[in-house]
Amino acid sequence: MPVSRSPRPDPSATAATAVESVTGARDRFRESLREHLSSAVSEFTAATALIVLFVALSLASPHFLTADNLFNIGSQTAVIAIIAVAQTMIIITKGIDLSVGAVAALAGVVGAIVVRDLGFTVWEATAVAVGVGASAGLVNGLLIAGARLPPFIATLGMMSAGRGLVFIITGAVGVYSLPESFQLLGNGEIAGVPFAVAVTAAVALGSAFLLSQTRFGQYVYAMGSNMEAARRSGIAVRRHLTAVYVLAGALVGLGGMVAASRVNSGQPNYGIGLELDVIAAAVIGGASLFGGQGRIAGTLIGAFLIAVVRNGSVLLDISIHYQQVIVGLIIWAAVYFDQFRRRRLEARG
């Protein structure tokens, strides 16, 4: 660091630091504890809710805590979790992606069509689906970072245009008559673990690593925190912001392919309303719509929380209407606790 060019020690500063280190050691320890807790509080709140729900459902239904049911919950959460990870990255940049449902459907039907009509393998089709998602993400990114449209508007357009493309491509009917092998991604297993769960885990770990350990991740948070500061710090914000949307789009494409594979067909109506589920998952997990905050671990917990509420409701045969109310309450509670925590931290001496 260039400062070493002036290595002259400053007596007054050193003295002050020494005094502080004696009187403030305890404060500092408390401070550090608080910081570590604060970054994990959102996850902590959501995780606690998840555990409470687990215990309650285990007591309420003998079928909840069974290997089969956990296996099912895992597979059922996979798609929403993958897409919620994508949404989280975008939310951290202070953006939002309303087009995830439409793009997932687009990727799914294109993946199904290339298998049915062109004889692609499921892996090739997955690559195509990821490419479709990334292309949609690129368009979103160029509109937002290049043409400076607000993310809400840019992705609203993509939501409509993408869904329209799905209908054009499919003629508005589902893509059926797919070979058994198409189901591998959504219904296969490796070593007793659903393939979809393994894919989700890989996506989550990779994204968490990217966000927390790499320069790119650092820039994602910096852009969401203060776009102008990032720009003045010499970060190529347009390129990086576009890259975030491309990456997120690729993940959405992957998620759409897993969804299609799971039901062995390309569904033109897939994913209507999905954007709200994944935004809810991210927000419950502590992501802030004001940008700069959010972590993959929290989002995963949020996604599981929603999935477990739905699973438990069906096990207990609770009507869909109550399920929706419950998810709404969870969103309120999660964000309320999150803001409560932040206010308390800000109010500190």
């Binding site: 060019r5 350990q213 320069r215 650092q218 720009r231 940008g291």
Partner: protein, 275 residues
Amino acid sequence: MSAGRGRTSRGPGRGDGAPPVLEARGIVKRFGHVEALRGADFAVHRGEVVALIGDNGAGKSTLIKVLSGAQPQDGGEILVDGRPQRFGSPLDARRAGVETVYQDLAVADDLSVAANLYLGREIRRRGLPGRLGLLDKRAMRRGAAAALEQLGVRVPRVTTPIAMLSGGQRQSVAVARAVVWATSVVILDEPTAALGVVQTARVLEVIERARDAGRSVVLVSHNMPQVLEVADRVEVMRLGRRTARFRAADVTTDDLVAAMTGALATEPEDAADLH
């Protein structure tokens, strides 16, 4: 607080006819119909502290954003060591060794102190992981802690998010970031505005130390005693132009106030017949 002006050397190149290390000539900058800069001139030589003063809205911050590449100018030119250069982006200014503390700070609130100090020039791991973009967070924490200690800036920890710091602490971090990285010129736009007495004294010390290390400092301030204490020269802006220049040793607070209000001008008439 030591009286820096008498104590320090003027640094090399000062007064020997060498071109200014950073110079602005006839800068024009418009925001829609507002003409914030109307042919502004400015110069700073190697190893000198220049105070840039002027009334609110005179165009100081705008000139500084031009000089740091944050807002490219509409007309006029920028010279580095006497050679014209285009500052199309903050990176261009940074490559010329110019670092800036903006009046609106420009820190990322959600990032830690260390991450802010290294924003845009993160230390990466060695070898392949580094080329893949992996950060060496430990090195950055250590470097940040060392730099802050050396500059006498106290924050709870370098991992604390900026949002959790006090206004003065944030400002200190922003100053530290600029001073630490500048190889040629440090520009400070009202760096002591939010600071207490002790912190202000520290910033002024930091400015002197930077000058002693051979760097030039541009200081924007509304505090006249402070300006006279720390600066070698003073340039005065009024209505988007430079209207007066003084050596700090030869001038009083009253002269500066007169220059800022337009009662006193040292620049050629074309500047004076503006109003």
